[in-house]
Symmetry: C2
Subunit: 271 residues, 2 copies
Amino acid sequence: MRFMQTLADAWQRHDSLVCVGLDPELGKLPAHLKGRPDAVFEFCAAIVDATADLACAFKPQIAHFAALRAEDTLERLIAHVHARHPGVPVILDAKRGDIGSTAQHYVTEAFERFGADAVTLNPYMGRDSIAPFLERADKGVILLCRTSNPGGADFQALDCGGEPLYLRVAETVARDWNGHGNCALVCGATWPEELGQVRTRVGDMPLLVPGIGAQGGDVAAVLKHGLTANHTGLMINSSRGILYAGSGEDFASAARAAAQELRDSINALRH
Amino acid sequence: MRFMQTLADAWQRHDSLVCVGLDPELGKLPAHLKGRPDAVFEFCAAIVDATADLACAFKPQIAHFAALRAEDTLERLIAHVHARHPGVPVILDAKRGDIGSTAQHYVTEAFERFGADAVTLNPYMGRDSIAPFLERADKGVILLCRTSNPGGADFQALDCGGEPLYLRVAETVARDWNGHGNCALVCGATWPEELGQVRTRVGDMPLLVPGIGAQGGDVAAVLKHGLTANHTGLMINSSRGILYAGSGEDFASAARAAAQELRDSINALRH
């Protein structure tokens, strides 16, 4: 099934806008898992199983696996999601981008090797660097737009002929790149008004929203500015706040409680 | 030794501005290597050994390995360069970029896991996404500026308050990010006048120049606009033109001949 349809179904079926970020850090794993040969997989799979019915998507961040030489773990983790929770799409957070002949290899990495349903990409190199992804109508193509980090303003907020670069990116994606209807944008929760400007330009295009929790983004402001007419349109990501909600043997149930609290607090504001 | 010093020494000792790009494609390997269990390593290592004394750097492109599930091959290849040709730095062409807490994992990936001397990065997310790399004064930090591909103009050429985005990137890197003197920029050979504009803004900062050969960039124009006062300052990349110069059992000597021809044609114009 197409990523966009899977996402829309998950929003409805799980009544959730929560995207669970999977950013494993060896130093933060529960003590009873540390040192076990497959600790990262065990940890992430337990989080997945405990939160799947509360999530609209899972988002593993690839650097956390690459730094550990654990690409095979990431492959198995994504396969686990597909096998056990086939209604929850997997977004590979990789922020790739390269010239066309190389972009095809990144397509292979994301969709064939890892089996992701969607991937995050960096738009700086322009259309032909994204084209091989756009052609995959079944897959989600999620472009960085206004990122949540402090340096997000360095270039994204530069005035480009009367409007900031991130709005030029949003308009270009909505107008020129979305022929297959498979595009989405990354807009950080730390800039809710900018997120609202993006929403006004891109119709119902889904927005992936990092930056709540540790980064300080305001959920209420995100909902106010970002919801679509049917009260969806957002994938509100939480990584650390869910993954490391607990540090004992009950880490998975602590993660479930954190995901449920986030889902319910969002729903109290949007319904 | 610091990347910048290793690079400067290689420019002089090998009398070469040629950067050899390592972009292995299974379908293009010489027939006698196809199907062998370690074919990609054998191919790349042979190219490295045949061209090292003609090169100022090697640049493996990581997607070509990731698409093959061959990160271990890339690790061994970079270790091979360091062991056999310690004077030639290795640039990991990865174009990474993410928020600070994740950027640290990409630092680990590039410099600890793969042992690269430098890495290419995407500046779109701004300073804090690059800061963990900048702090590594021994390593090279090579930011995308004006890329060689057709879509490079989509955003990089947008007018940002009287000058294009790529010049804002160049100025920001030169002025604010280069405190350790470890920055360089990617400027495509397909836009030699823009490359010249960058040169006038960044002093002697090294420029990594893709886009000659298959992409059609003009070496003479690159040299005219990009050389520094001491007739260096450029890493002119060739990947396919060297790697696939031959397709038989003599592929390594064909690659050597292609690298030598490129080096000599550059030197005839710059000396």
